[in-house]
């Protein structure tokens, strides 16, 4: 893990933001990624657990997932749409799910994150706080731009209507999918997200799901195979939601 030179636990978001302006300061959420990293860089850890960011709150027809809500919280909260809760459960096994957080997943979730895919189809808007105040960023935009240094994700707002369905191909039933397709139908129409085909999970056009995709090869699947899976799984996911690609 990055070697923590210091550890601080601010009791508010403002205090955390102030600390994060310092050199070498890193926000620490659950720790399943940051503490598992074998990078020997010396850092100052800013633990967000006391910033009041763990709440899941229904508001204005949307559901606000506090950045420090754990994946176990999502999996067990009845207000969280079933498909999203299931994605939180599938994302990590029991001993890590209890630690990993929504905010940490948004920041560090890789190209295979089924939870990120579920968040994408639930129209996630990410609340980011920095020295200049609060901004709301659509999740795809945040994935492209990243979280600016000295800023924090404080919540992810989702549209809780409808529920998503995931179809996936993996080496074994609980393995991280090589490719997955997550679809959701709501009043706004259908949304479809794929994992395993880009450097992060992506929303794609349900009518032409593989258009413009250029996945990379890895030992679990070649690029051409991934494209093939994307087409098959997208069709299945859409069919399961009543849509046709």
């Amino acid at each position: 893990m990055p070697r923590a030179l210091t550890y601080q636990r601010p009791d508010s978001v403002d205090a955390a933001i102030t600390l994060l302006t310092g050199d070498g300061h890193r926000p620490l959420a659950g720790g399943t990624v940051l503490n598992a990293d074998d990078d020997p860089t010396l850092v100052s850890m800013v633990d967000l657990q006391s910033c009041g960011l763990e709440t899941i709150l229904a508001t204005d027809g949307r559901l606000r997932l506090g950045a420090m809500a754990t994946l176990a919280d999502l999996a067990e909260d009845e207000r969280v749409p079933t498909g999203l809760a299931e994605a939180a459960r599938a994302e990590l096994p029991s001993t890590l799910r209890s630690l990993a957080t929504v905010g940490g997943t948004v920041v560090a979730g890789g190209p295979d994150s089924v939870l990120l895919a579920a968040l994408l189809v639930h129209d996630s808007r990410v609340q980011v706080v920095g020295p200049d105040g609060v901004t709301t960023v659509m999740l795809p935009e945040l994935q492209d731009l990243g979280v600016p240094v000295g800023h924090l994700i404080t919540a992810v707002d989702i549209d809780p209507t409808g529920s998503c369905i995931r179809h996936a191909t993996a080496r074994t039933p609980a393995d991280v999918p090589i490719v997955s397709a997550t679809a959701r139908t709501s009043d706004d129409g259908v949304r479809l997200a794929l994992t395993g085909v880009a450097n992060h999970p992506v929303l794609v056009d349900p009518s032409d799901p593989t258009s413009g995709l250029t996945p990379s090869d890895d030992f679990r699947g070649s690029a051409s195979y991934r494209l093939r899976l994307a087409a098959v799984l997208a069709t299945r996911a859409l069919a399961a939601t009543g849509e046709v690609a």
Binding site: R9, G31, P40, S94, T169, R171, T172, D175, R228
Partner: protein, 973 residues
Amino acid sequence: MEVSFELNGKDCTVECDPHETLLTVLRRQGMVSVRFGSTSGETGASAVLIDGQLASSEVVLAAQAGGHSVTTVESLNVEADLHPIQAAFAATGAMQSGYSVGAMVLGTLALLNRDSDPSEDAIRDMLSGILDRETAYVKPVAAIQQAAAVLRGEEAEPFRPLVVAPMTDGVHAAEHNPDDQPPQGSSAVPRLVPSRDVPSTSVVGKPEVKVDALRLVKGNPAFTDDFEMRGMLYAKVLRSPHAHARIISIDDSAARALPGVHAVIHHANVPRVKYASGGQSYPNPKPHDQVSFDDKVRHVGDRVAAVAAETVEIAQEACALIEVAYEVLPAVFDEVEAISGNAPVIHDEDDTIDIADASRNLVHHMTAERGDVEDALASADHCYEQTFRVHQVQQCPIEPHISVAWLDSDERLVVRTATQVPFHTRRMLAPLVGRDIKDIRIIKPRIGGGFGAKQEMLIEDIVAHLTIATRRPVRLELTREEEFVSSRTRHPQTMTYRTGVNGDGTLVAQDMKLIGNTGPYGTHGYTVQTVAGLRGLTSYNAPNKRFDCEVAYTNIPVPGAYRGYGAPQALFGLESHMEDIAADLGIDPIEFRRQNWTKTGDEMNIAPHLGEQGVLEEELDEYPTVKSDGIEECVAQGARAIGWHRRDDRSWREPADRPHIRRGIGYSHAMHGTAIPFLDMGGCSIKLNDDGSFNMLVGATDLGTGADTVLGQIAAEVLGVPLDDIRVYSSDTDMTPFDTGAYASSTTYISGTAALRAAEVVRKRLKERAAMLLGIDVPCSIELRDRRAYAPDGRSVSLEEIALDSLHLNEQEQIMGTGSHVSPDCPPPFGATFVEVEVDVETGQVTVGHMVMAVDCGVAINPVTASGQVEGGMLQALGYAHCEEFAMDEEGRMLNAAFGPYWIYRADEMPRTDVFLVQTMEDSGPFGAKAVAEIPKDGVAPAIRSALVNAVGVRIDQLPFTPERVFDALQRG
């Protein structure tokens, strides 16, 4: 910094560094039930409850736990009695090594606090974060269900085998009746199919609780890392970033200058003593092609230097400060290419002798032949040829390799180490550190799994060198990545079978050509391949057989011993080949095998020419024969349990509601071995205590298998006492008799017979002393049972009375006995493996839905531990067949040296796994026992392939059956 939290209900304040994990701090507080598995936390061995939630403490900073409630298993150890959850784990045999059982117990506690009657899905979800290579999660699920019932106030059902009536007469095949229902009930309960040939016993054959259950389930100090040494130094190893390179120079000055560093060792300051690291009997097979530190590296992860320092972090920092100049050399990874004559030479040094052809990277070339294979193939009605490629996988013990060395008060070198071979390690270590064997002591505590990876002197020489250099205790624990790249793995192989068959389906010749990949060092490279030949050419009768094997040096991470030892590779090839021949001939796949399989009375005609003791070229006057087999019963039980008839039911194979799914059922036959004849040796000593109990010392190495329990049961049966009266201790080279170690499916058979003999010596003297006390002239008429010695007239004296008399009162003596055993026989266990799969024809994804193995292991001394061996072996075999593989880049770097990318099966995805123990009476084994530990590794891969053929008609000759490989095969048609 100071951190305060609640630990097991009490306030706790600790001093720690900000970077220290909760795992580190808890262990420093004495909570040794919390154990290391990997720095990224996915093994779950380190899991504790934080505010009641199960969480891996390896990825939690101690500081993060400040203000929270932390619970470890030690919280349950408030009384001598076990907590009901602990008791359930013990009663159901839900732990083997027990390395991760603390996490499982805690997870259960949290789960049952939320839900007193959890579903099996909820239980498996809880267990999803605790990886287990031993139990296949079968018995842990049963343990949790039992614990839940007890805590709800229900009475726990005794956990005992389900006795299943035989379906055959033991000789002839049974007709498969689709209407005949298999026994119902939890998979955790072993199905025991009894044999009338087996005499009644009191302790043997009973589901006794493991003798080490209490220490394991309570998380008491038991493993290498659980005992602290004052003044301990911590070691790290600098490893090669190159697959093949010469070390031009090493500058260790900056590392040595780093405060806290006590020693830096490498090729320039450690004597160059040649050895082979495989833990095998004297003399270790040649070539001896290793030294502790070399001026050449031959794989990514190879040793370059090692450091001992005050902390792990300082040692790590020092390693980074060592400046090494490399001349990078071309590398070769494929075994066929390596011996082509056009590959870089991996061993070009002049002090390694006995390489068959170093210029061609050919370590060995061995052949064996019975009859005239070429002639028989030429005259056979049909001749089939098929080539298979099997891949590299790792044993993945959850406890990584760990050793601690120190000098004792007599300045002898002591090494406490996670090893399967303490006595081999002592002998092999002596020349490397320039000490006599008598000045070295190896202590084997509990081991958190080994599976062959620890049948190796892997890191003991490093801690020994560093201890001698510093005169301080030194500890070295491998990281998970090091476990993958620098430990040991299964040998990749390319094998070609040629088989001649007559028109009636009778085999006339079988030829196996094998190219084994032993990586950069020989270690087990010779013996794994000869055993592959032995297993790959013994299952079926053919008068003409030939084995031709070349063993290649390459630059992959080092292969070595892995449970099954060549058999899983060979039997994948052999059984797949037989399956395909049967299909071509239009014969039922089971019937074709039955027509040819080796059974009771048949000669094992090439066995003495192959095997671990080497290749024998001259013909023998007599060949060993099979003395016992239960294979027909295994097939009958397995076929019924899987529903074999469904493979011909198109409506089942092609479910109408899931058009992209095809189902199939597969079968494979397995014949393994029991120990290495004339080579494996075990010793045992037993002494009587004042209260009529016994101390039993064995050199045998229980690495979680239950060996201590089984050997204790054997002694208890002979001595007429309950198992609880036998205190078993294993193994310590100063204290216990010699044993070759835990490998080759030998412990129950070899060490068990040693225990039997030692107990017989003690029994004889007990009878003599009882006769004195009872005034009887014929001691042999006395019987021992129920802790007493009974005369024929019914009078009796207790063993305690005999002990007090012999130790304190009359003609005083210590009643004790020793026994040892080496066997000329190698009785084969047999197995029938059945697997049900689903194949997604649009994606190639294979899902295994059900596995059944029926095993003839003779008499299972303990049916619970025996069935646990089968379950765990099948989990590993499933991974081998389905998802586990080393992914390497073109430079020889492993791309997936972590759990996750390297996927091993979790609790929430394991298919149902049913085990049948089919009794036979093997007269050469203790109480009729044969081996059980390795045969479960043999059948799963070929059975899955067979099921794929049944489901979709594709024949894939390469492992594992990953989605893209299957998809490609489907595309090819």
